[in-house]
Amino acid sequence: MKVGLFIPCYINQLYPQVGKATLELLEKLNVDVVYPSGQTCCGQPMANSGYEYESVGACNNFVENFKDFDYIVTPSGSCAYHVKKHYNIIPQTEAVKKVRDNVYELCDFIVNILKIEKLTASFPFKVGVHKSCHGLRGLRLGSCSEVVGDSFSSIEDVLKMVKGVELIELTRKDECCGFGGTFAVTEEAISVKMGKDRVKDHLDNGAEVITATDTSCLMHLEGLINRNEQPLKVLHIAEILNSNI
């Protein structure tokens, strides 16, 4: 099994530690993983802003970099979802179809493809899981509160394998954090308010750490936490899964 590591653009530039944790974790799990260095971005920032046509170059570059892998794994539910859902704007060649079929968010890949049941990680903290929307409602990494059916969560499954993690219950289990790409800037007032409410929910319920499958949500929440000097640490889920504290 040949796995291509897809590191989203902003993680590459601003949160390299998330990329490192993802790579190290996959290697610990004996995955034959390669990082193709010609990759840039999945194209989502332009597409969600209504400029899908400006993202075609990015889409093509993505496919070119990842077409030869059996699986593409990324520490981002949102970017994986974008490739799956919105790469219908370029011609559906075999390569494009293959890439769309085989792109996986990290937890999804660990739980549902590798079918891992044990990890050696330990992280003795109270952790609140912010269920990033594109992973939750786009990729269905877990059940969401609107839909009637069995309760499940790949994210919680994998966190439960980490020694010492105490998952805290949030009052609103799966409300959006308000990041939303350019929404964070074009609808600044609402975006900030949503983020503040999300942080408050974690604080009220005793979380020491907020984690998520998407660093974009976390960048927004961390920006508020740092500005307001609140007692919460922000870590991508890969960093927890790769921890040995």
């Binding site: 653009c9 590459n12 530039q13 601003l14 949160y15 390299p16 990329g19 490192k20 790579l23 990082y35 260095s37 840039t40 971005c41 194209g43 920032p45 332009m46 969600n48 802003s49 209504g50 400029y51 046509y53 400006e54 075609v56 170059g57 990015a58 093509n60 570059n61 919105h86 929307c133 594109h134 409602r137 786009g138 969401c144 609107e146 839909v147 009637v148 059916g149 799966d174 959006c176 308000g178 939303g180 350019t182 929404f183 964070a184 800037v185 609808e187 600044e188 007032a189 609402i190 975006s191 308010k193 949503m194 409410d197 960048m219 927004h220 961390e222 920006g223 508020l224 740092n226 500005r227």
Partner: protein, 455 residues
């Protein structure tokens, strides 16, 4: 005014935002408790979706079947291509009966057509009899929600409004007293009415009958007391068979408020002897929306308001921030079809979190349609030059790895070295209330390359 501007004004009073958010979240939570108790809820949603899709694909057939059956029942049927024709038809019926005082139960269609001011211009008195609608009517405001029209008003505000218009005593916002007084006031209006107007929730093709859902019984009070009943409906309100009500009535009330069924599901079929019953069937842009493959499913909507209650943006920006008859997520996919330029910011008033699509009782893919409207809006309406140019630049940067690396390096250096006062200066909207991450020396890409060398 753009949605974001209106929303930022609403957000200057954070306490009120919190209150508004909690009030609507409470309704969403009630909905959850109620639907999670229904075995097969998701199948019911699929059925609702399927029946609506089938009906919309055979709309000509079911509408004419409905018309024929309604006429057989003694109902007079009228067709209106647009809002103006609708208003003229209603006006002419009222004029014929010399009606001066009219009571109306909730109808988003008549809001859409601006019927009230049209009739008032001819000296008619038109009273909205749904309590929430009456409140906003007295306040001279449009409804801010399609099921809870006055949800943006606190009980204290209603207290003041009633003192001014109904002569009530100050009561500190006592809901029981206020509703009691509203009831007395509305009783008089019902008794005096020359004609009653209602909306239509479901029009049934195979019987020619229609159903109006209310929690206050105000549709019945109006329609049973007045000699003339005019029911106004959009063409998408049709369902093929009476038995399908078993699907839609179960979906509607649970999704709207968490009730198993609305307090009154009133079935109308023919006029009381000596009275008249009219139905006005209105298009007003619906067939145009039906012709757009990406957006036709927006016509499945049964107006439950669940997408508003669940929407984290709606809850924190208030219905008026949408400046559209139907606010919230569903309104944001319907309104651009009517006036793309006016409503061009609405599809962007979303994080595309997808909660609206998951809560929708008839499975409208609301968030996907928001995304699709965005693609159209940037092409067909004027966009800020900065946004356009930066998107073009990003598109170029991301299509070439070498450029991406160069730009990344500069960005990281700036975040690391520029003083915070420069980083968070005015053009950086992000920095108003949020810090930016510190730029790391090394990108992941740099680290990975060195790591390979080290190995």
């Amino acid at each position: 005014m753009s949605h974001s501007k209106a929303a930022s004004i609403f957000n200057t009073d954070e306490k009120k935002v919190n209150w508004h958010d909690k009030a609507l979240w409470f309704v969403r939570h009630k909905r959850d408790k109620s639907v999670h108790a229904v075995e097969g809820w998701e199948n019911l949603r699929s059925l609702g979706h399927g029946i609506k899709a089938h009906t919309l694909s055979n709309l000509d057939h079911y509408l004419t079947e409905f018309e024929a059956n309604a006429i057989k029942n003694g109902v007079q049927v009228h067709w209106a291509a647009d809002a103006e024709e609708h208003n003229k038809i209603v006006h002419s019926i009222l004029k014929k009966h010399n009606a001066k005082k009219i009571v109306k139960s909730k109808s988003m269609l008549t809001e859409e057509c601006h019927l009230n001011p049209y009739l008032e211009a001819d000296g008619m008195e038109i009273i909205d009899t749904d309590l929430g609608e009456r409140i906003v009517q007295l306040a001279k405001e449009p409804p801010s929600h399609i099921v809870l029209p006055a949800i943006h008003k606190t009980k204290e505000e209603v207290d003041e409004l009633f003192q001014e218009h109904l002569g009530t005593k100050p009561c500190g916002g006592d809901p029981q007293y206020l509703t009691g007084e509203a009831r007395k006031h509305l009783r008089e209006k019902f008794m005096e009415a020359d004609a009653a107007i209602t909306g239509v929730n479901f029009a049934i093709a195979d019987t020619g009958g229609f159903v109006v859902c209310t929690n206050e019984g105000n549709a019945d009070m109006g329609a049973h007391l007045a000699p003339v009943h005019i029911a106004c409906m959009g063409i998408e309100k049709i369902i093929p068979k009476q038995e399908y009500l078993g699907v839609f009535l179960r979906l509607l009330a649970r999704s709207a408020t968490g009730q198993p069924i609305t307090t009154y599901s009133s079935h109308f079929k023919k006029p009381i002897e000596g009275n008249e019953m009219h139905i006005v069937i209105v298009d007003n842009g619906r067939t145009e929306q039906l012709s757009r493959p990406d957006f036709r499913a927006s016509l499945h909507c049964i107006r439950c308001g669940a997408c508003m209650n669940t929407c984290p943006i709606y809850r924190r920006s208030g219905g008026h921030s949408y400046d559209a008859t139907i606010p919230g997520p569903i309104g944001s996919i319907l309104s651009p079809g009517k006036d793309l330029k006016k409503h061009s910011t609405l599809p962007f008033a979303s994080t595309l979190c997808g909660s609206c699509s998951d809560v929708c009782p008839v499975k409208i893919d609301i968030h996907s349609q928001l995304y699709k409207w965005r693609q159209i809006i940037t092409k067909e309406t004027p966009q800020p030059l900065v946004k356009k140019a930066s998107m073009k630049m990003m598109g170029k940067v991301f299509s070439k790895p070498s450029q991406f690396e160069r730009v990344g390096k500069v960005a990281r250096w700036s975040l690391r070295n520029l003083p915070k006062s420069v980083i968070n200066s005015k053009p950086n909207v992000w920095g108003k209330e949020r810090d930016l991450p510190l730029g790391p020396k090394e990108s992941f890409d740099d680290w990975y390359k060195n790591r390979e060398k080290n190995d």
